[in-house]
């Protein structure tokens, strides 16, 4: 606990230090606000435009979380299929890699064309970007079960679904969480990238990516900064939420999830 408060204190002092540095750069080079707004101006922008900032944040969070959740469901389902036989893996696995290598910026306009701009398009983009790491990690976890463990189940004439539910899936949990952790980081980035193309269905209202584009076109640099801060914060929240779930579900038995509760 003492360690935690020391960590928090040092993190806070670094934060204050950075604010001071930021302010002094403006003073020293006498930069105009549209190039680099002062911390006070950014704070002001946050306060005065809080409702629209929260709306944007909410939309992006919804798209990222929705995409991540859908990718988790679909990804685990695909991995369960992949785990059935090496044949299936060999035939379809290359396509999940393709999913990972296709530049999202390139397919975003197509998605926009097919389903129009708005939350569902952005969610779909976040989903696509999250799918590959979840499929890859879950499949790995499902098939890396110790041969002797499987034999143990076979000795009791266990059915395929018993082996799956009582052995393969629990064994794959740490790998699934690794997949989710990787996906949660790129989910937010994916959603914001998506919003740059397909962010809004109504003029003036959209997620963070959309608002960033709008603010930069209007040269509202102070609000732009506020949006960047909000996006970073969102990424943080996602990351720690997943860390917490990982710890919550795995810490009693799995070593990797125990870093958090070590002194």
């Amino acid at each position: 606990m003492r360690k935690l408060s020391v960590t928090l204190l040092s993190a806070f002092s670094i934060f204050v230090g950075l604010l001071l540095l930021w302010q002094s750069v403006i003073w020293i080079f006498s930069l105009p606000p549209y190039l680099l707004p002062s911390p006070a101006r950014v704070a002001h922008a946050i306060v005065t435009r809080l409702p629209s900032l929260m709306t944007s944040l909410g939309l992006t969070a919804a798209a990222a979380a929705g995409g991540l959740l859908a990718a988790l469901l679909v990804g685990v389902a695909i991995a369960l299929l992949f785990a059935q036989s090496p044949w299936i893996r060999r035939m379809f696995y290359p396509y999940t890699i393709l999913l990972q290598t296709v530049p999202i910026v390139a397919i975003a306009p197509m998605i926009l064309l097919w389903i129009g701009p708005g939350l569902s398009a952005v969610t779909l983009i976040a989903f696509i970007i999250c799918l590959a790491p979840i499929v890859a990690n879950t499949t790995q976890g499902l098939i890396s079960v110790d041969r002797n463990m499987v034999d143990l189940f076979l000795m009791h004439n266990a059915s395929r679904s018993q082996v799956l539910l009582k052995l393969r899936l629990p064994h794959a949990m740490p790998s699934i969480f690794t997949g989710i952790r990787i996906a949660s980081g790129i989910a937010v980035i994916g959603a914001i990238t998506g919003e740059l193309f397909a962010g809004s269905s109504r003029v003036g209202v959209g997620g963070i990516g959309y608002a960033i584009q709008y603010a930069s076109a209007q040269l509202e640099t102070d609000y732009l900064f506020a949006l960047v801060l909000a996006a970073t914060l969102l990424g943080f929240v996602f990351f720690f939420a997943v860390m917490f779930l990982d710890w919550y579900f795995l810490h009693h038995w799995h070593e990797s999830a125990r870093v958090v509760d070590q002194e």
């Binding site: 034999d151 009791h156 064994h171 009693h252 799995h254």
Partner: protein, 276 residues
């Protein structure tokens, strides 16, 4: 041919195991294994690495079919006899997400036994191996020796007729291993199982067994079938007796003759001749 009144626990007749297909080349792993293991015998199998010891256990367990010959477990096919058999592997193979109690119950759970009945059985078997106080711990909280005892408890919970043990104590330190060996014999006094035990340690095989089979490699076959006449109950003092030492060196000599022949064929292997 008249059938004996009591069928042997394990009967192998010319059992042969091959892998591969004709075109790609066939490897004969086990060649014409013929032997009988009577009920309540404790038979150890030793032999150079790769000579087919694990394969033999898997055949008996019905996890791997033989290519030719015949096999009967209590007069049945191995698949039918599965519920009479428990398998204990080298690493304890516990499910890390289950507590000790939940691990021990696994077999009964898969067999579809009712919850109350199986919980009572688990309590009994846990106290039998002296693990009641860690029933709700997770495997990662236990030492290697304790994990192995959980594994033994899990195997015994289903009241098996036959125990198959594949180098179960190889990863344990010598003191823990000796203690668990004694415990295993004590459990055998109280229960009725037959054991087929694979090990690389001659001393361990001599201490535990009523009979030792020495396998020769390439292809795996029974080279020696040695009865171990040391009296039961065997304890720590058995290990210090001269009869024990004598038996260990006899078995070691037999094992060495088998291994030297195979070494000239060029496959390296380590033979564990542990000092008594």
């Amino acid at each position: 041919m008249n059938t004996p009144l009591i069928v042997p626990a394990i009967a192998l007749d010319q059992a042969t195991k091959r892998y591969g297909i004709a075109k790609a080349g066939i490897a004969t792993i086990l060649e014409s294994i013929t032997t009988q293991v009577q009920r309540r015998e404790f038979v150890s199998i030793i032999g150079p690495s790769g000579c087919g010891k694990s394969t033999l256990l898997k055949i008996v367990a019905g996890l791997s079919p033989i290519t030719s010959g015949s096999i009967a477990i209590h007069g049945m096919t191995p698949q039918k006899a599965r519920e009479l058999i428990s398998f204990i592997f080298q690493d304890a193979t516990l499910l890390p997400w289950r507590t000790v109690r939940q691990n021990v119950v696994l077999g009964l759970e898969l067999d579809g036994m009712a919850r109350e009945t199986r919980n009572a059985k688990v309590d009994t078997v846990l106290s039998l191996v002296g693990l009641s106080h860690v029933a709700d711990s997770f495997p990662r909280q236990l030492s290697g020796g304790m994990k192995m005892r959980v594994s033994i408890a899990r195997a015994l919970a289903t009241r098996p007729q036959i125990l198959l043990l594949d180098e179960p104590f190889a990863a344990l330190d010598e003191m823990t291993r000796d203690r668990i060996n004694e415990e295993l014999l004590r459990l055998r006094e109280e229960q009725n199982w037959t054991a087929l035990f694979v090990t690389h340690s001659v001393a361990e095989a001599v201490f535990l067994s009523t009979r030792i089979l020495i396998l020769a490699p390439n292809p795996g076959r029974i080279a020696h079938d040695l009865p171990i006449e040391l009296p039961f109950p065997r304890t720590e003092s058995t290990r210090r007796s001269s009869a024990f030492d004598r038996t260990v060196s006899e078995v070691s000599r037999a094992l060495r003759s088998v291994s030297i022949n195979s070494e000239s064929k060029g496959d390296g292997q380590e033979i564990g001749v542990y000092p008594a």
